[in-house]
């Protein structure tokens, strides 16, 4: 049961080969049996999940099933869930039970999906390893001494460990793609504005975007069909038309032009990872695509640009956590100032506080033009690089990360080393483009991810390329040894 894809589960449920209660029970039992080694979930409500599954079974029996009726889905603990704790990996929201659903959650409920649980993440999605979670680090199912990546590391580990058939994540600078690469699964960050941000705890509002994480491009397409679309309650959500992302999965790649940015294959890329990527590109060439060398000349500036814009927006967004209306409040505040400053000292972890301070500095009087405005200008140059490339090519490809998953603790005390992990993914968020990570091989039994970057709102093309690649390769079907045992 637990090795079936979302597409197979949908078919099986429709044909009544098994029930949603059986499927959901299997995954809940696997979480209970195996998640002590991954720490991929923060909250699981078995009774609520089984009740939702029973409701789904009634709908299916009545021939009233929607697209994902009865499919259990895990959600990153950044999406507000009505009546279920939404911690965002932080002590600040450890006691926060939202009184409403995020639009993403609402859409999955409407589609009939079963909310399996809420997954572990870096605190407020700030990190690349899921080590900054208040609930302890998540671990990589391929080797539990390694990080699963982050910030959506819990979602990636849950899918890779076969504790959920699919999950949601969010990506502000690589937080879907990097953990997908590290855990050997498929993840898609859609175009900025493609998926509603309502009820998704805000980190950097001009960069944040939610997307699907699953074993295959086909499963990601099934989830994106539910997630994508305009939301009048999110004023930055796009009104651009959506499409059926499953409809074009099988299209031919003949004539497809794939751009390879020189900057993504140079200094800093691990040799064995580079070999995996070059083999993957040969596979795409064999499928009819043409490889074209392109250049993204401002690549060297993406990390500094991101580390002004993201902290600046974070410092503004996180000012809402004041100990007054919801979330953590310090004990025995002596006055209002003490209430604010001590609540935020005790409620936030080190990395979150660091970014708030950097952002506050970048936005403070006298420094705004030198930092924030400058970064916004360079951001336009970075976006323009991509627009110039897309004059010549249809998609861009390269590695998702400079190397495979690293050991727990290896970078947790060195913020800048951690920031460098996202060197190939940050620019996609700055430019607002859709990006994917697709399993493309292994280095010492550690998964490698191939990154695909598309034009704005061209998710269907990325999914098409990834699907055709997955029809010719087996990387996405491999499972780690640690998933053995446990309920089937």
């Amino acid at each position: 049961m637990h090795t079936k894809s979302v597409a197979q589960l949908v078919k099986g449920l429709r044909k009544r080969q098994f029930s949603s209660v059986e499927v959901t029970r299997t995954y809940l039992d696997r979480i209970a049996a195996l998640d002590s080694q991954y720490n991929s979930f923060i909250t699981v409500d078995e009774a609520a999940a089984l009740a939702a599954a029973a409701t789904a079974d009634k709908r299916l029996a009545a021939g009233d099933g929607a697209a994902l009726t009865g499919i259990p889905i895990a959600h990153k603990d950044i999406f507000c869930t009505d009546g279920m704790r939404t911690s965002c990996g932080s002590r600040m929201l450890d006691n926060f039970v939202p009184p409403y659903d995020a639009t993403v959650i609402q859409r999955f409920r409407t589609a009939g999906a079963v909310l399996l649980g809420k997954t572990n993440m870096d605190e407020f999605a700030m990190g690349s390893s899921t080590e900054s979670s208040f609930y302890g680090p998540a671990r990589n199912p391929w080797n539990t001494e390694l990080v699963p990546g982050g910030s959506s590391g819990g979602s990636a580990a849950a899918v890779a460990g076969l504790l959920a058939p699919a999950a949601t994540g969010t990506d502000t600078g690589g937080s879907i793609r990097q953990p997908a690469a590290f855990c050997g699964i498929t993840g898609l960050k859609p175009t900025y504005g493609r998926v509603s941000r309502l009820g998704m705890v805000a980190f950097a509002s001009s960069l944040d975007q939610a997307g699907p994480m699953a074993h295959s491009a086909e499963d990601c397409a099934l989830l994106l069909n539910i997630m994508a679309g305009h939301d009048p309650l999110d004023s930055t959500s796009s009104t651009a038309a959506t499409t059926d992302y499953c409809a074009t999965l099988g299209d031919s790649l003949a004539g497809l032009r794939i751009g390879l940015p020189a900057e993504y294959f140079g200094e800093g890329l691990d040799a064995a990872t580079g070999e995996c990527i070059s083999f993957a590109l040969k596979e795409l060439e064999a499928l009819g695509a043409t490889l074209v060398e392109v250049t993204l000349p401002h690549s060297a500036l993406t990390i500094p640009t991101y580390y002004i814009i993201a902290p600046a927006e974070a410092s503004t967004n996180l000012s809402r956590f004041d100990g007054v209306r919801y979330g953590y409040r310090c004990e025995h505040p002596v006055d209002l100032h003490d209430l604010y400053t001590r609540t935020r000292q005790e409620g936030f972890g080190d990395e979150v506080k660091r970014r708030i301070l950097v952002g506050t500095y970048a936005l403070s009087a006298g420094y705004y033009d030198a930092y924030y405005k400058k970064a916004q200008q360079v951001r336009r140059l970075i976006k323009q690089d991509f627009m110039d490339c897309f004059e010549q090519v249809d998609i861009i490809a390269g590695p998702t990360t400079p190397g495979p998953a690293f050991a727990l603790g290896a970078k947790s005390n060195d913020p800048i080393a951690m920031y460098l992990e996202d060197v190939y993914t940050l620019a996609v968020n700055l430019a607002g483009l859709p990006g994917m990570s697709v399993p493309a091989g292994f280095v010492d039994n550690k998964p490698v991810g191939l990154q695909l970057i598309g034009r704005h709102f061209d998710e269907a093309r990325l999914l098409n390329v990834a699907h055709r690649f997955q029809q010719g390769t087996q990387w996405h079907l491999r499972t780690p040894d640690s998933v053995q045992g446990g309920p089937k």
Partner: protein
């Protein structure tokens, strides 16, 4: 970590021949944050309403300084005549008719507050 050496397939595409344009090769730049002091961090922390313990302030100052130095390389980039980009799609804020669309859910929102009384949020006394 052993670095990737382009060969065969890659060498033909000359990906190894790439050098960044001169403007981006930042050997040294004018660090506008050259001398950030503990005092500055304390001021920022006050603006951000985050208390920092005395024994942590030295380490926090060092970390923030490292990050600000890392981002300082932007200062060397020529951005004359480049319009700042706030939204990646250059979208502007959409307006909607000024009508009530959401019901009043004060009770639900206050049910999760640390302290409320008679429909009001409670905080320590501000005015004696």
């Amino acid at each position: 970590m052993q670095l990737y050496q382009p060969q065969g397939f890659w060498a033909r595409r000359k990906c190894d021949k790439f050098t960044p344009p001169a403007a981006l090769r930042v050997a040294s730049c004018d660090f506008i944050t050259m001398a950030i002091k503990q005092d500055d961090i304390e001021k920022i922390a006050e603006l951000a309403r985050i208390r920092i313990a005395d024994e942590e302030i030295g380490q926090v100052t060092q970390r923030i300084t490292e990050i600000l130095h890392m981002v300082d390389r932007l200062q060397a980039v020529d951005t004359r005549n480049v319009e700042p980009m706030a939204n990646p799609l250059d979208a502007v804020q959409r307006l909607r008719p000024d009508v009530v669309t959401q019901g009043n859910r004060r009770d639900a929102f206050q049910a999760i507050a640390p302290a409320v009384e008679n429909g009001l949020y409670l905080v320590p006394r501000v005015i004696e």
